[in-house]
Amino acid sequence: MTKVNVKDVFIVADNVYSPVGNTTALNFVRLKENSSGVKKHADTAMSPLPFYASLFGQDAGFKRDGQYTKFEQLLIRSMDDALNQSAIDPGDPKTILIISTTKGNISLLETEKNSPGFKDRVALSTSAQMVADHFKFIQTPIIISNACISGVLAILTGMRLLRAGVYENAVIAGADVISKFILSGFQSFQALSPGVCRPFDEGHDGLNLGEGAGTVILSTDKKYAGGLKVKGGSVSNDANHISGPSRTGQELASAIKNTLQDAGTAAADISFISAHGTGTVYNDEMEAKALAIAGLNNIPLNSLKGYYGHTLGAAGLIETIISAESLRRGLILGTPGFARAPDSYPVGASAAHKQADAINFLKTASGFGGCNAAVIIGK
């Protein structure tokens, strides 16, 4: 594969805003202490039965009293912290904002469906523009809504726009809010675990949902050289089923293979894998098969879903940002809920954290619609 004018894309700053903590550093410290956002909730307004999820409490102070919804407030809080750490100017025409979400403001359907202007207010371009205006971005924001790969796809879209020289800086923010709409849907699919999820464990029995936001700022400006790099990535489609993953894992494996090639990284140079690892049997099995095809099934692997639940359009961002922090701190986080993999598809998961001189990690994601995405971040 030949590439013209490939530019290094550096990570400038980031933020994770979740029920676990409101900065990347605080999230990482709490994860290190095995503190999880996933709790049992008995909220009959959301679900007739109790459920496990990682949700913000009342103390997080998301009130629908001003102009912004909870979804928009989450994006703003996360972006605010990341932008404050950097000298990136949103008003620079060379800076683009990319928003990632699956359902955005869909919870308005539960409360404001019959209000005038509902359809405009619920539109993702309305939210994205409001957030862009809040920070005084001058470029029209890009919005990605591509199921559970949205966050990884947003990072890849930013990387490609920067490589191509269309922009110099990209502020990439993702968020999703869990409401009755989303919860009832996953319940109808019988996809939720009755307890805390156990990704890749032989007893895995479903996923937990989670809410949160993540922001990563990328730049090709050489003054950020020395930071971690977004080295490469790829996307694929299973062409198999709209709500079930590939039977073989071949298509995720193909995205991983292309990602290694795009990044110019050998499989042996991947220090660990941050898997999608939702904790459903279908997902975990498909991912394990894909990693075996790609020759990566012996490499240390984790799933952060036991800490955050599945944060949907934010998942790819939150999990990439935490994994980047792992590289900086030389600590590969464990997979909460994991004890033993099924004999039929072993992976390199472990419950315990592990110190390691990690150089690169591979992040994968898969979602409804048969989509798969992979990205490599490294030193």
């Binding site: 469906k113 539109a123 990605i144 591509n146 009832s184 996307v235 619609g369």
Partner: protein
């Protein structure tokens, strides 16, 4: 200098008209939902899964069928080399409203699965066995320059050799699909792949 890419076919479904490459192939008088079924029958399509799809997927799937029917030589490409890049304004709100109405009685998993805009890409990929790059973007209006840049990147960097791209929108009574087949093949009377040419086709009244 990057190689030139061409719009080797396009299909437009709007205002009761189905148009391919500038030719009106089918006209329908009636509401948005009945157009989908009437067009499916007119083109003698046979795909039972069509009837299970939400209206956004039906529209996108139909437009892709008509776009690819005839001249497209799929065997020129590997499944991994064919990409689908789509956009719209209202995401999956048309189905979101229907799904949420079902929640009061019993949440419907068959409606819930369509509450993501990229499912239409999945349906097109399943039908045609496309396994390459894919993305769904939300835009207030069709951003032709952005779509051109995204597709051109994929083709220039060997991420794809062929791409189906465009716009698929469905909300209430309003709908519009405009799909472009983009290939690196020069043919007679075929427009160059550019934002300007996509806009011309997108905005033409198509009589």
């Amino acid at each position: 200098m990057a190689e030139q890419n061409y719009i080797t076919a396009f299909c437009k479904i709007e205002n009761g008209l189905v148009n391919k490459d500038g030719q009106n192939l089918f006209t329908h008088v009636g509401d948005a939902g009945s157009l989908l079924v009437a067009a499916y029958q007119h083109f003698q399509l046979n795909y039972p899964k069509f009837h299970k799809m939400d209206r956004l997927s039906k529209l996108g799937w139909l437009a892709a069928e008509i776009l690819l029917k005839g001249s497209f030589q799929k065997d020129r490409y590997q499944p991994e080399e064919i990409s689908v890049i789509l956009a719209n304004a209202s995401s999956s709100l048309d189905d979101d409203l229907k799904y949420y109405d079902s929640v009061a009685e019993a949440a419907s998993p068959s409606l819930f699965v369509y509450t993501l805009p990229n499912i239409v890409i999945g349906e097109i990929c399943i039908r045609n066995h496309f396994k390459g790059e894919q993305a769904f973007f939300i835009q207030g209006n069709f951003q032709s320059e952005f779509i051109e840049q995204q597709v051109a990147y994929l083709l220039a960097n060997n991420c794809a050799k062929c791409c189906v791209c465009g716009w698929v929108e469905f909300l209430g009574k309003e709908y519009k699909a405009v799909l472009f087949l983009v290939e690196n093949i020069k043919m007679e009377n075929v427009p160059l792949f550019s934002a300007v040419n996509m806009d011309k086709i997108f905005n033409s009244t198509g009589k």
